[in-house]
Amino acid sequence: MTSPVPEEDVFVTLEINGRVVRCVTEARTHLIDFLRDEASVLGSHVSCEHGVCGACTVQVNGEIARGCLILAAQVDGSKIDTVEGLGTNALLRKLQEAFVKHNALQCGFCTPGMLLTALEFIERRPSTNRAEIRKAISGNYCRCTGYHSIVEAIAEVAESRRGPGVH
């Protein structure tokens, strides 16, 4: 049996926000660095680089993941969506509008990760409450400490989808 041979440089193809990007990159390149440095897709941010802050949250084949906890090589052939590629998603648009209305951002660094996390959470849990929303965004750090208004914005969108009563 012939097994494949390990390589330090790998050829990676990703469909990023509908655009196919192909290039050779180091095997150790994180997905978030591939997006920013190779594909110039800058919507998702890099901060802690060890999976605790949530700033680099992206969608991989429709599910959210940490861009710093995935190698580009691991997801070769996958569909990657970032906040800028989801502009046509009606629910994301509602979340963005609610964030603006509630002043749910100050510097905006955490916002792309917050939006993608909130989007998946509301899609999976149509019926929710503020305590669950706080748990859902507990993996996304806002260093301007704007959590209250972020929770309010997400709760408003959740409420608008299923009627009033998000406590």
Partner: protein, 282 residues
């Protein structure tokens, strides 16, 4: 922080993974979901020369019921466990534990096999496997090995797995009707590592010989049963705080870190034991 350079190779099957481990296992590491390994690489706590990616071996992603056991493939993701009906109905301990693992973005990628093979002392699933008396199934060039969960975990990041073997699945025996489970962990924020956690199970049976298991995690170098405390509480199902603390001080060997002193951990372990009694014996 960036990892040291390494070579990457993707295994397409269990057979191929074993072959790659034979060739590169000495200085290589398996990559499953990567949710713990990638931070360790970034911190350079680990600098393998080769990563063998097993993440796409779909034959290892399953949850099935089979002759008195539930078999869970190593590459089953935490998010799969969270939404699976068999797990929700038959293994509620796991269903509850999984909700405490990090955050949704991490549960979408992290795998049960990865968590068990890493054996982080603060991880939830090793404690659940010991509480549920699960069997860990591994595979290498010489074939399959079946290891009791309690013997599989040896210490911080140490297991019975050799560097030429792959963890393929776990087998969890179905609990008898009337079995009660309890899961709790204390951490500063939801999704953080446990300062102390407890997975408890009590099966129905004659008084005084009730199988009772209390497995603590985040409270020593590995998830471990508190056997003296089990015996104490099995006999009288309630006890004074002082008696529980005394038996836990024999069972557990907590350490001090930035989150808590060893003494505080022991205190919290006693608090969790008292809370568990209500649910396990009610």
């Amino acid at each position: 922080m960036k990892s040291s350079p390494f070579a990457y190779v993707r295994a397409q099957s269990v057979t191929e993974a074993i072959d790659l481990l034979e060739r590169h296992g000495d200085d290589g590491r398996l990559l499953a979901g990567g949710q713990s390994l990638l931070p360790m690489l970034a911190y350079r706590m680990s600098s393998p020369s080769t990563l063998i990616d097993i993440g796409r071996i779909n034959e290892l992603r399953f949850i099935e019921q089979d002759d008195g056991v539930i078999r869970i493939g190593a590459l089953t993701r935490h998010a799969d466990l969270e939404t699976n009906n068999l797990i929700a109905n038959q293994l509620p301990l796991i269903a509850r534990a999984v909700q405490n693992i990090a955050h949704s973005a991490i549960r979408n990628r992290g795998t049960i096999g990865g968590s068990l093979a890493l054996a982080d002392p603060a991880a939830q699933l090793p404690a659940c496997m010991i509480a549920l008396d699960a069997t860990i199934v591994t595979c290498g060039r010489l074939g399959e090995r079946r290891i009791e969960a309690d013997a599989f975990f040896r210490g911080t990041y140490e297991t019975a797995l050799s560097n030429k073997e792959l963890l393929t699945c776990v087998e969890v025996p179905l609990a008898a009707a009337g079995t009660r489970v309890h899961f709790a962990q204390l951490s500063r924020r939801h999704g953080d590592f446990a300062i102390v956690g407890l997975a408890g199970i009590r099966s129905p049976g004659p008084k005084l010989v009730d199988p009772l298991r209390l497995v603590y995690f985040g409270c020593g170098h590995r998830a471990a049963r508190a056997t003296q405390t089990e015996a104490l509480l099995r006999a009288q199902n309630s006890s004074s705080r002082a008696a529980i603390l005394d038996s836990l001080s024999h069972d557990l060997h907590p350490t001090t870190d930035l989150n808590a002193t060893a003494e505080m951990r022991l205190h919290l372990a006693a608090v969790l034991a008292e809370r568990a009694l209500g649910e396990l014996f009610s």
